[in-house]
Each structure stands twice: as C-alpha cells, then as structure tokens.
Assembly symmetry: D2
C-alpha cells in the first residue's frame, strides 16, 4: 500500500526514534521540568532569533486551541479562513478552550484570505459595542488547508492590520517546516518579523510521534498558559517524551531536511499528475500537499492498486471559479512526508497514467 492520505500515517523518523530511546534512561523531573524540554526551549530561541516562551504538547489541536485561548477572551472574535483547520477540523476545540469565542470565517481562494478582507471583517465588530463580539485575534495556516503558502509580504500585511487593531496574531504551523523551506526564509522572517505573536510549531507530521510547540514571542501573552495547559490535560507527566522528540527534530537541521524531502516528493507528484490528460490541479503545490481532480476511472486504478489519498471537499470556497468537480471526477489530496520514497511517487504517477 502507498498511503498518501496524510503526513500523519507514518511513524517517527529514525533520528527522532533513536533520541527517544536514548532519553529513556534514568530519572528526570516530571511535567516539563526535564532537561530535554529545557534544551528544546533554548534551541527554539536560537532558531527563531528571539526570546521565546515555549510550551510542548502532544497534539496540534491542543496547540492551536491553547494558543487561541491565550489570545482571545470568551467574547472575542478570532478571524481565520472559513475553511481553516481551526474552523473546520477540530470539532470546536477553539470554542471549548476560549470558553466560547467566535471564529469569524473569511473567504478567499487557495485557502488564503487577504489583509483587505480582514480589515473589512473587523469593521463589522465595533470596539466597545457590547452586543458585538470583540476583535481579539487573527489566525492563518501556513501551509494552508489548500496546500498553498502566504508570501512574507502577505503575512506582513495581515500582521499590520493585526497590530493596528490590537489583535493577537496566531500562525498555525502544523506544517511549519514545509512552508519555511519552500519560502526559503528564516523562521524569524516568517513569524515575528511579520507581526506573528504566537506559533503552533508542528513537528508531528514532519518526523515526530506526537510533539508540537506553542511558541510565544512576548512572554506576557504566555502568562496563564501553564494553567491552561494543565487544566486541559495537556501537561504530559513524563515530559522527556516531548522534549526528546523536539530536540532530535531540531538538531542538525533534521526538521529542514525532512521538509525538503517531503516537498520535493510533492513537487514530483504534482508534475507527474499535472501532465496527464483529464487531470486538473486546482491549487498550486507549494509545500508537501498535492490536490488533484482526477477522472473516476483513473482514481479507481489507484485505489485498486492500494494507493491511498484523502477525498477532499468538493464545494470548497477556495476553489477558483470554473473548477467545479464533475460527476465523473474525484477531488483528492495527496500528502507526502519525510518517509515518502521517490519510487512510490513514480509508481503512483505510472498507475495514474495507465
């Protein structure tokens, strides 16, 4: 079977796995006071070239929901793309963790909204008017749900609106590394230099078992985070489990290497599929995700041969006009990872071509 349904269908990378084994011996203080976790924090400060406050958790939904809760009161409005992961794929976790804040979905092609849209939406919720939820935060996904990227300029424009209206700016970086190596910029450039306040720094999909870091560039915003994390059950007792994964992930550019590989595999798949007659790629492949509209006949060949992809939402507002999925087509997402092999990609292409 070639499983490209998601980048979470693979386990951990060899380097991460070995680090975990090595970290197993001897006593360590619990609840994140272990020395691996401390080292992870120091490494992230260096990588981001900024003072940071770091909190490790085991899941992306936990990371996102906790981060948003740090930015918005219960009567806050959190602006995001209307098909973002926080809006559509976390069963209301942001609402739970913020005690009922409102996610305001913004439209936009390719999974991205613009600074202009954000500004317009903010105006709908006037400051101090008690009947209106109060603009509190904005969140972007980088990589987006459509596998695309915000440019540094686009992030900075959103950051400017955020600053102007005193919104916290959250970046959901479940695929942070994939975005970073694709843009070819530094972590600082993609985050705080563009106005981002808090990052969900994903490591799970790109080589870990279960490890995400919530990173604050302003420690004041993190003041109550420890309580929120504990209270939501996200303080792992044997904290070395998280700390050892994260340090291994960051060491020797392992995270960047993994992401480069995954992106290269996606590019290879995209090029192969795009060249096939009857196949359409509604969104550009800018990281490690490939979205394809395939004739059902071709899709069946893939399925029958054991290729797994994820059926995608056919009515997505992110689709360009004219891209409606036909009744004889399927709309599939393929995700490559650190573990994807070139020959697997080639096999998928060959099958789709046959």
């Amino acid at each position: 079977m070639i499983n490209l349904a998601s980048d979470n269908v693979m386990g951990a990378s060899q380097q991460v796995l070995e680090a975990l084994v090595a970290a197993n011996n001897g006593p360590e203080a619990a609840y994140g006071s272990d020395h691996h976790t401390a080292e992870a924090e120091a490494m992230l400060a260096e990588i981001f070239e900024h003072e940071v406050k770091v909190f490790l958790v085991a899941t992306g939904t936990g990371a996102n929901a906790l981060a948003l809760a740090a930015l918005s009161p219960p009567w806050g409005a959190i602006f995001c793309h209307e098909e973002s992961h926080i809006a559509d794929d976390e069963c209301g976790a942001p609402e739970m963790f913020t005690d009922g804040a409102k996610l305001i979905g913004l439209p936009g092609l390719n999974g991205k909204f613009t600074a202009e849209w954000l500004e317009t939406a903010i105006a709908r919720y006037p400051k101090g008017v008690v009947k209106a939820v109060q603009p509190a935060a904005v969140s972007i996904s980088q990589v987006t749900e459509s596998g695309t990227l915000y440019s540094l300029a686009e992030i900075a424009q959103i950051g400017e609106i955020a600053r102007k209206h005193d919104l916290g700016f959250h970046l959901d970086g479940a695929r942070f590394a994939n975005a970073l190596v694709s843009l070819g910029c530094t972590p600082a450039e993609m985050t705080w230099k563009a106005g981002v306040d808090v990052v969900s720094f994903g490591a799970t999909k790109n080589g870990c078992f279960a490890c995400e870091a919530v990173i604050f560039f302003n420690p004041a915003r993190a003041e109550h985070f420890g309580f929120r994390r504990k209270r939501s059950g996200h303080t792992v007792s044997k904290g070395r489990l998280l700390g050892a994964q994260m340090t291994a992930y960051l060491r020797h550019d392992h995270w960047l290497d993994n992401a480069k590989h995954a992106n290269a595999m996606a590019k290879r798949l995209n090029e192969g599929l795009a060249a096939l007659p009857g196949v359409r790629m509604p969104w550009p492949t800018e990281a490690n995700e490939v979205f394809a509209v395939l004739p059902k006949a071709r899709a069946k060949i893939l399925s029958d041969a054991g290729v797994r992809a994820a059926p995608w939402y056919e009515l997505s507002v992110s689709l360009p006009s004219g891209a409606a999925i036909g009744s004889d087509e399927v709309f599939w997402r393929f995700v490559t990872s650190f573990a994807t092999k070139p020959e697997e990609i080639d096999r998928v292409i060959a099958l789709a071509r046959s």
Copy 2:
C-alpha cells in the same frame, strides 16, 4: 540520585520501549484507527471480562476529565474525596471538561470516604430542585491519594449508593495495576462487578511513556466521547504511539509484573523506615507509595545524599487525629516504580538510619 518523588520520574519500561520501536515502521491509519489501538481494545475487553468501549489518551488528567464529562452535565455534582487528585491536582480540569460541574469533596481518613458519607452528601442536593446542582457521579481513586486502597466491599458499597441514586461511578486508576495486585483480585472484581461504570486505566506511571485508557463498561455512556476527546485535543494523530504502548503494557502480564515489583519495593521501604526511631508512618503502605513523617535531621541526610521525595500536605484531613506534623519534622511521600532497584531502597533506609 535516587528519585522517589513520583512514579513518573522514570521513562518507559524496556518492553514498552521496544514495542514502540517495532511499531514505527510503515503506514498506519491515523487518529486511533491503527491496528495497535484495535488490539489494545480487544485485550482490555478480555482482561476485564466484559464488553468495553476504550479510548486511549496521553495523560491522566485528560482521562479523568473526559471520563467525568461523560458522566455529569454542567449542573451536576460529582462526589469525591476532598483531597482527591481530581479535586486538588488538576487545576480544575474536571470543571473545564464538564463545563462547570461541581466537585463535592467528602472527608475521610486515609484518603477514603465511606458509602455513608456519600449518602449523606447526596441528600444535600435534592433531585429536581433547580437551585441545587444535581447528583450525577461519584469518583474514587484506587490507589488513593494517601497510598491506601478501598477494599472490594467498600467499592461495592459505594457502587450500591451510586446505583440507588443513579450516579455514574468513576474509578481513577492512575495506579490501577498497583491496587489490583495488592488486592489480589481480578480487574472485573475491582470495577464493574462492584458497580464501577468508567475507569481511568493508568499505564503511564507503571511502565509507559504516556498512555491511559478510558474504559466504559456501558457503551451508551461513551456515545459522545469521541467528540469530547477530539474537541479537547486528546485525539493523538499518530495513534500507534498510544496503541503500541498499551498492547506492550498488557502483553504477557507485563503490567502486573511491573506493579508487583513496585509494590514490593514500597513494602521494603515502609518496613525499613517504620523501624527507625522517631519515624512515623501515618498511612499504611498498601500499594507503591510510602508516606513518612521524618525528623528534619534525618530528612536532611537523605536530601544531602541525593534522595528525592515529595513533601506532602501537612494539614491533610486524611491524617488520623494525633498525627499532626511537628515543627522539627517533615512529611514526605516516596513512590516506587517498575524501575526502582532493591539496592536503592536499601540505600535510602541505610541513610535514614544513619
């Protein structure tokens, strides 16, 4: 250093670690649909001799809070010992997950409350009277916060009151195995045969890295659990991480062996310390925890030699009358684990004797 501050200061057992490594290869369906998780569920059904609905999570606080949320509406009352872990050590997680239910703390020596106390407390919250929160659940810790055990008869008595008043009955089994091997009974006897509806089945402290199972004996009670787990960020994406730990933990009685060892180490420590002049053991050692009141001078020798224990709450209502801690004494908890070595125990005793 000999760290006996908790049983979560050690990593995973060799057997669990190796299983994790072995489970790492190849693709697996995400979010708990992997085959390890399925096997864990089957093993637990067999071990508990009952149809079960199982949900794996990474933390004990997550397990407890999710279990309680399945039992109590926001206007519910959850009865528990006033110094139980859910009441005192989870930063209000049960309140968060239940959307504001009220924990009603019951008094009782040795970390235990009686069925009589429960019955009296329930009467305070009459059914259908809207100003009163409504009795919804009862929760016991087995092992208790004082390191003691409820007998099977005591559990059954509480279970009877629970059934009589239509309360869900939760057992916080963070140290389930330690209790089980000490009582010498079957898992069924300690749970559903005594009226328990839901168990937080802890594996982390007894040999895993981060793995707990919430086990329901009545599937109807688990109807919404999947949504609650997802929404709280406790659905681990690479589910094999949890599934592989749990299956390794249960296989070949590994969990029972680990617990027997830990309990034996605690017994050894308890006997050694109890024999020392000036040392008092306010609570009996019935599992893998040893509580000791030590002269400060002896305590200092231990600290100086690198022995770590956890200072305990000196005003605990669970202390028998006459056991007040003196100003020249300390009140310490020692916890042994699967990884504690006999020579470590002997060294602690020798130091304390010196």
Copy 3:
C-alpha cells in the same frame, strides 16, 4: 423627539402596566411558582393549540441562548442566517450557553436563508466524523433582521430538512406577534405545524417591560431547562413580575392588537418614504420595520428635527445586488411599536419630504 430607533425605546402598554400594578398585592410563591405564571402557561397552550412547556425570562438574549442550549451539545452546529440576531447581536451568548457550540452562518438575501442552503451546509459536517461539529439545530428569526418574513411554506421546507437530519428547530420570535398578524395565520401554523420545536416568544418589544417565553412543544426537550435557567441567573425570584406581564399581554388579543398597530404604522412610513425621490427601500416592509436608504441631506433634516433611527450595516449580505449604499447616503432602520402615533409617522414623512 420621535424615537424610531427600536421598538424597545418605549415602556410597557397601559394594559400591561395596570396588570402589573394589580398583581403587586399579597404574597405569591417565588421562582415562577406563582399563579400568574401558571396562567400564562395555560394561555399559551391554548393559543398554540398544543401541549407546551413554558419558561418565562426577562430578556430576549436569555430566551434565545437558553433555547439553543437545549438543542445543541457543545460540539453541535447551529445553522442560522449569517446576519441573524443570535449570530451578530448577542455578544456570543449562544456560544456561552451551549458551552461552545458553533453557529454556522448561512447567506441569503432579505435576511433569509433557504432550505437548499441549509441542506448544503449540513453536508459539510458529516454525522459521526469526530473532527466535524455535529449538526444539531437550525434557527430562524421571524421577523428577520431585515424586517422580512419567512412564508409558511418556507418555514415548513426548513422544518422538513430539520426533521430529516434530526436537527432541533428554533424560531427566534422577538417580534413573533408582528410576523403572525402580517402572515394572518395561527401561532400553530407558524410554529409546530411547520416543524418548529422551540420558540422564543417575545413580548417585550410589543408591549411588555421585560418578558419573553421559551416555548417547547415537546416536553422532553425541556427536561433540563429549569437547571439551565437557574444556573444562568434567569429565574426571576418574584416570578409574578413576568407572569403578570405575559397574561396581560395575551389577554383579549392585546398582543395581536399591538402588533397590528405597529405594522400599520410601519406600512404607513414605508409608503411615505418610498414615494420620495432619492429614497430607496432595499428590503420590503413586511412587519414593523422599515429600512431606507436616504440622501444624507434628508437624513440630516430628520436628525436635526429630533427623529431617531438606527444606522444599519451598509455591507449587509442581505442587500440585493446593486443596492450598495453610496457615500452621500445613509442606511437607516425605523421601527414602529404599539406606542407609535400616526401623526409621528406623518411628521417623519413630512420632514423627509421637505
């Protein structure tokens, strides 16, 4: 001053006021056990020609939020028009009372969404998929936020989709009476006969001081409502205050007479304004609200003469295409009430014409 900014700028009607004074004497059981409240429940059962469970509260936001909480779990999706009152004007009360359910805003002209839109939106949240919030309820406003009405057929179509997908169907009837007399139907026809499960039956705007009834047609849905109402502080201790208002409101068709008067005043105003050059009415006047786009010059004359209206949201998605508000225009809402005098309307028209 002629204040037409809302129908809540006036006090109570004379009949309601006198009933309140008459109800003041002597002791009455508290917390809604008074005989006025019991009588109100009986009157509503007769008016709605159905068994009902009735809960009186003092505010519309309280009524709506409590009603929705009875229909949706925290992980539920509540479908409504994207500019409905529950979505935009209650500062997140539905999110608070449901403990974090998600309001899914549906688009639609004239403040109304269609059954087709609802069906499409429901498909986005597949049943049993834990990452998706679960379709739980649908809510319409009758009168809508654009002052328009759903026809009985439109309500029934939505009711059919609700039944098909097992959604609770809520009707926000802050201006229930105004809608009813305009449609010329019975309360039963506008509600349970069309599939509505719960009504927020508003009386405040149409002649009371502060009184709304949450009406359930299926008592099972109301099972926990008493606890929710108490717990949210909406159980008024001197319940006669609510009961006496509601009985006076319903007695001798007072509520219908008030609504007929208010609607007639709105019709008069609408006709007068629509006839003026340069004035546009983007939405039809179907109850007691008049929305007008006025040249700024005319608007200034009105303001200067002490006429009060409510500036409306100029980017409303409910506006028909081509109705964009110009920079030399204002977009105002006028609301008439039981207390509006014909000569006030004539004066407003005369001023606007001048």
Copy 4:
C-alpha cells in the same frame, strides 16, 4: 395566609411601584442608556461615598455570578462559606459564569468563616503551581445564610487577607440594607473601607420587583463587565425598568426604612418565639431572618393556620454543637420584609404559643 418563607414572596413597595408607573411614559434609550439608570449610578456613588461603576441586573444570581466572573479566571479559587448562597443555591452559576472556577467552601458557625480559616485555605493553593487552582477571590454574604452578620472588624480582617494575597473581595449583599441598618454603619464602612472590591447590592427582596446592582469601587475591575452582562443575557433592553426601581428604592432613604421595618418585625418574632417552651433559636436574629427549632406539634398548628416558613437544612455545619434537630422537631426559617405587618407577627407568635 401569612407567608414568611422568604422576603421574595411579596411584590414591590408602593413607592417603587409608583416610580415604575411614572417612568413608563415616552421614549428612553435602551440597554441601560436611559436617564433613570444614569441617576441610579449617581445616587449609588453618593451613598457609597466613592467613585463607582454600577451595573443593574434583574436577579441576584446574575449579579453574584457576574461579579465573581469579574474577579476570577477559569483556573481561579473563590473562597466562601461552605453553605453560602453562591455555593449551594445557584445551581452552579458561579462555575458557569467563571467558565469553571472552583468554589472552596470554608467551615464556620453561624454562616460565617474567619480570616484565619481563609488564610489556612489559601495556603493549600500555592501561587504559580500549575496543578493547583489559583486563589483569586473571596466572597462573604452579608446578611449570611444563617441570618447573622459579620462585624465591621471581621470584614476588615478578611479584607486584609484578601489584599495580602491579591484576592478580589466580593460581598453578596442580597440583604445589604438589612445588614446595614442593623450594624448602624455607613455603606462605605461596610464595603470599601473594609477592603470590599465588588458588591452585589440587592434591592429585590427589600422593596423592588427585580433589581440588583453590581457595584465596583475600582473601575478597572469592571472593564469587561459590559460584555459579560450582554453575553449572559442580563442586559435588560428596556433599561428604565431597572433604573426606575433602583432610584425609587434609594430615594428618601426608602431602602433604609424598609430594612428597618423588616428587621424590627424579625426581632419581634424572634423574641416571641424564643420565649416559648420547647422552642430553640440556634442562630441569633441579627437582621430580618429568624431561625427556629420548633416541636412538630407547634409547627403543625402554624401550618394548619396558613403560616408559611421555609424548612431549613438540618445538618447545617453552621449549627452550634449540641443543636442537632430532634426527630420530633422541625427547623424553620422565617423571613420578614418591608411588607410584614406587626399583627401578622403577633398572630404567628400566638399560634405558636397555643
């Protein structure tokens, strides 16, 4: 019938009722922007001799829960008497409005806890330790649930502990006026001069229909209150309903006169009952509540004659030792009000004596 079950079984006083009628005419801005509400705020500032931020609501539970939410985060601990109204009689409203804070019940005779108890309890929740909820607020009831009063010195001692530990200090003044006239002090002395930060200033029980003021002495604490009030449905649209009650209540010392009358009636009842053989008064009558232990035979005579009192909790921890209620006794609460007539009291005493 002579109904002394509570002081909320009567309607409004004549003065309040007339003010409501007088306030009914003409338009007024909605949602608390009316001039009556503004006047109420000014009057309260004068009465309390302090800058205040005032929010009117219709219910005591709403006032208390909103006030506490302003003082405590979700992970906060709120210290109160274990049988206080907020702990026992509001169905978990504080938990709902604070999004899950924990009420820590303190013991104490006569419905009062001491500053020492508070200090001891605070120590249980160390600052910055994430597993522990964080001390955030303390709340006292004045009049207490046992009908007794904290002296000014006792309040000040609690206030001192609150300041020392940075807790917000809330006073539940559902019967504020009754306490005030009994102590013979100024509102300032009973509140901010003793360290109180927020008061639930009750007017309903003492002459209004439904009106309570939440009063902040430090405007910063009230920063988000408007949003919380709106979001919880406690912003009454026709705000004059509340404003007119409150101004009438405060004008010409009406509130103080009402309270003096009610207290005098309670004193008369207490003296009459206490003189009867076999009747015991477990708590002193210090305001307008009389608690009596009566032989069942006498109680039956009262019931049969149409006298209503409220059966009280026989296992109350506030009862002095030796005061256990016998099986041939009842434990009743009588509450007098502004509307209680001396001849009613005399009739009750005569019946009880017969």
